[in-house]
């Protein structure tokens, strides 16, 4: 990716910079040349299906695992060498939160905060209330969602510069998911950087400035959602009073479907390369547009496009 598309100010540095990361476990290549850049102050979506290498990347970034090849920089330091110093500046929510069975949620929040070097007391109270979390329960008594809330409160109540969240909402109900979004937005407003690994696309679409889509341990696509949309096609449906002529010959138009309406006129459905949308509209307008919908691709469509190769053999088998 290039920095040219979005102007960067002189003081903005990258919170995370990983290039060519490789990590193998026996015969499996969990990371296969992965690149990831997270700019300071942004909420970055880290997308990929299960097993794509999201958690492995995060473990490498946290210095819990050492990559076989490639380079990684975190907050300007080396995640393996400078682990302890860097960890004081970040907060981490693992994908599968397990708590000590005989410590209460409140104790875990305090302990993790103190081990990091501090906790914002007011924020702790606010977050407990927001997430409706009972801090007096013992670890073994919490459900999956509540264990996740314990880790989220501990992370959001810290004064960390960087939050690394690994599928943090997989056990939350929709109401709590909303509270989670509010909290992430507050973090962004406070100038913190968030790496949000997820496969809940609506969440990423709502929260993230930029996304990186990975597939089989490699980066498939990275950029802002707008940039990614530009690379793909827009779906257009138009009801026309007259005949628009031969649209199939237009550059960038695909999946064309023209059928007569019950009254006079026709309904045109097609997909068009987003940068050719203007040309298509120039042809439609003279035919008398009665209604027009043009829908940019959803993240889901972007996402699926990258995995169609993976899906096809699976369906065949």
């Amino acid at each position: 990716m290039t920095h040219a598309t979005t102007p960067t100010t002189a003081e903005a540095t990258d919170a995370i910079q990983a290039a060519g990361l490789v990590k193998t476990f026996g015969p499996t290549r969990a990371l296969d040349g992965l690149d990831l850049t997270v700019r300071t102050g942004e909420v970055h979506g880290f997308l990929g299906p299960n097993g794509a290498g999201k958690s492995t990347t995060i473990r490498v970034l946290l210095g819990l695992m050492r990559a076989d090849a490639g380079t990684a920089r975190l907050l300007g330091g080396d995640p393996w060498q400078d682990a302890t110093a860097l960890h004081r500046r970040l907060a981490y929510v693992p994908g599968d939160v397990t708590l000590w069975p005989n410590l209460t949620g409140g104790e875990v929040i305090d302990l993790l905060g103190r081990l990091r070097g501090g906790l914002d007391e007011d924020r702790r109270e606010l977050l407990l209330e927001r997430f409706e979390l009972d801090p007096k329960k013992k670890g073994r008594a919490y459900s999956k969602g509540n264990r996740q809330k314990v880790a989220l409160v501990a992370a959001f109540a810290s004064d960390a510069e960087l939050l690394i969240l690994d599928e943090p909402t997989s056990g939350l109900d929709p109401l709590m998911e909303e509270m989670f979004r509010t909290s992430v937005q507050e973090e962004r407003d406070a100038g913190r950087t968030v790496l949000l690994s997820s496969h809940i696309l609506s969440e990423v679409e709502a929260l993230c400035d930029r996304v990186t889509i990975i597939r089989r341990g490699r980066t498939a696509e990275t950029g802002t959602l707008d940039e990614l949309r530009h690379l793909t096609r827009t779906a257009v449906t138009a009801d026309l009073a007259g005949d628009p002529g031969d649209l199939a010959g237009l550059p960038g138009v695909q999946d064309l479907d023209v059928r007569p309406l019950e009254g006079p006129g026709v309904r045109v459905r097609c997909e068009v390369d987003t940068d050719r949308l203007g040309t298509l509209l120039e042809r439609l307008t003279p035919a008398g547009v009665r209604s027009l919908t043009s829908r940019p691709p959803t993240l889901e469509e972007l996402f699926l496009r990258h995995y169609q190769d993976d899906l096809a053999p699976a369906e065949a088998s």
């Binding site: 473990r59 819990l64 004081r88 329960k137």
Partner: protein
């Protein structure tokens, strides 16, 4: 009316509530295919080794009687084992030696089995998965009780067969087996109730074992003091009251069976009153804030390990007092039995019989302490594999600091436990022998001299954790090898280089033997080197 909606349809009736029991029994017997044979083998071996030693070790006329009278005159052995009821036959004395302790062990086995297959299954959520299938509400507990009954029943048959094979009268052997079976079923019933009452398997086991311990204590008090009725309150006392080989009292077998029926009925009644996953005792809320001291990895390690350390220490204290109480009378006990004398001397590797007994006991305490240490070191792996380590390492805590904190608590625990043992054995033995000032320091020193060998086992386990985290459980294997070498080595006359593999071989035979500091220094150095290598490997490897 949630209880009603949760219950199966009335049309299903009693059979419906038990649906799936057979499948569960099969599944759990399969899960226990290692654990059950191990228990049954160990307890059968207990009977056969006791029968063997009393049949072969006391062949001169009057030897058995002399031994038995020694027991019956000694309050501390009577407290541990009860009185000898038939002084004249080897089977009678073997029934004394294994009857009460064996009944307690069978009870322990049944408690662990029932809780493992009822509350523990529920706690982990596996039962929910099973319960959603065609499984009646009463099926899991019924299956757990059936597994316990199968285990206790098999054991009873084997114990009876072994005794008969050694030439014991059939009636006594059958009574002995049934007494064990009865004790097992009572404690299975106790566990069935505690598994409904407690919400965690830990608490369910704890409550049932407290009942077991109380039973053992009441029996001991009843056997020693004048209040003999106390033993009638104890399920272990009931097993004695069957009087194998001493005019068998078959009617006494009704006690455990009635008790079991009542306990099982109570457990089933409790099942109907509670939801899946809930207990009758709801765990109380804990503090909403951490104590101000809970701010370092060391404080966390202490918090996680203190419960287990207190439990082990209490056990060591009681056992130490018992050992110290018996020690002075041990020469009367052994009497003229040459083979027992010889084997005690071989195990203790010295001549004075009291010191040989004490140093053998210290060696055993050292092995038990090593078991605590292995368990403590394996907590490192448990934290890692249970994914509780990652969030801690993602804070400002480095790997070494975390690991050293955990190990420091474990190592301090080994010191506390052996120091307590030394104090308990030393003061009890000192008071009984009337030489407190002389015995306490030397016994205390002997207890502390066990530490370096314990640390070697712990250090090797740290090394395994660092280098081969997935195989870290092999630390138990290391301990098992040491145990086998120590127990079987002298009997099998294994060559010295083989014996030297075990660190416990190098511990001086104290009290009594010659003490030299060099082996202790070397053992400590080995332990430190192994731990350091393990920690370095841990620092370099991947977490997970």
């Amino acid at each position: 009316m949630t209880a009603v909606t949760l219950a199966p349809a009335p049309a299903a009736g009693e059979g419906g509530r038990l649906a799936g029991t057979g499948m569960l029994v099969k599944m759990w017997l399969r899960r226990d295919r290692i654990m059950l044979p191990a228990w049954i083998y160990a307890l059968t071996a207990l009977v056969s080794s006791s029968m063997y030693s009393f049949r072969t070790g006391y062949d001169e006329p009057g030897a058995l009687e002399k031994f038995a009278r020694g027991i019956n005159d000694n309050p501390s052995t009577k407290a541990m084992y009860g009185p000898v009821l038939n002084e004249h036959t080897a089977s009678g004395v073997a029934a004394w030696q294994t009857g009460a302790t064996g009944a307690a062990l069978v009870g322990l086995m049944c408690v662990l089995l029932v809780v493992r297959h009822s509350r523990a299954e529920e706690e982990t959520g596996r039962l929910e998965l099973v319960g959603a299938g065609v499984v009646g509400r009463r099926a899991p507990l019924t299956a757990a009780l059936l597994v316990a009954a199968t285990a206790a029943g098999t054991l009873a048959v084997l114990a009876t067969a072994v005794m008969i094979a050694f030439g014991a009268p059939a009636a006594g052997a059958v009574a002995f087996g049934l007494a064990w079976f009865g004790a097992g079923m009572v404690f299975a019933g106790v566990a069935a109730v505690t598994a409904q009452v407690a919400q965690t398997s830990r608490l369910a086991n704890g409550l049932a074992l407290a009942v077991l311990g109380t039973g053992f204590l009441l029996r001991g008090l009843g056997d020693v003091g004048s209040a003999h009725w106390l033993a009638w309150l104890s399920p272990i006392g009931w097993a004695q009251r069957v009087r194998p080989y001493a005019d068998e009292q078959w009617a006494a077998l009704a006690l455990p069976l009635v008790a079991f029926a009542l306990l099982a009925a109570a457990a089933y009644a409790l099942i109907e009153r509670r939801d899946l996953g809930a207990g009758i005792l709801a765990p109380g809320p804990g503090p909403s804030r951490a104590a101000p001291s809970l701010r370092t990895p060391l404080a966390l390690a202490w918090r996680l390990q203190r419960g287990s350390l207190v439990g082990w220490s209490a056990g060591f204290l009681v056992y130490g007092l018992a050992i110290g109480g018996i020690a002075d009378g041990v020469s009367d006990l052994v009497g003229d039995s040459d083979s027992t004398l010889k084997s005690l001397r071989e195990l203790g590797r010295q001549d004075d019989i009291v010191d040989a007994f004490l140093s053998t006991a210290m060696g055993l305490m050292a092995l038990l302490t090593a078991a605590y240490a292995v368990q403590g070191v394996l907590r490192l792996r448990a934290e890692e594999a249970g994914q509780r380590l990652e969030p801690v390492l993602a804070t400002g805590v480095g790997r070494l600091r975390w690991a050293v904190s955990q190990l420091a608590v474990t190592v301090a625990g080994t010191v506390v436990m052996l120091a307590l043992t030394g104090l308990a054995v030393g003061s009890a033995h000192g008071l009984r022998s009337g030489d407190l000032g002389g015995q306490l320091p030397r016994v205390f020193g002997a207890a502390l001299a066990q530490l370096p060998a314990v640390w070697v086992v712990a250090g090797v386990t740290v090394l395994l954790f660092g280098l081969l985290p997935r195989a870290a459980q092999a630390g138990w294997g290391v301990l098992a090898v040491c145990l086998m070498l120590g127990q079987m080595g002298p009997v099998l006359k294994l060559p010295q280089p083989v014996m030297d593999v075990s660190p416990f071989t190098h511990t001086p035979n104290v009290p009594g033997g010659t003490f030299s500091p060099l082996p202790l220094v070397s053992l400590t150095a080995v332990a430190l080197a192994a731990s350091a290598a393990g920690l370095l490997a841990f620092r370099r490897r991947d977490i997970g």
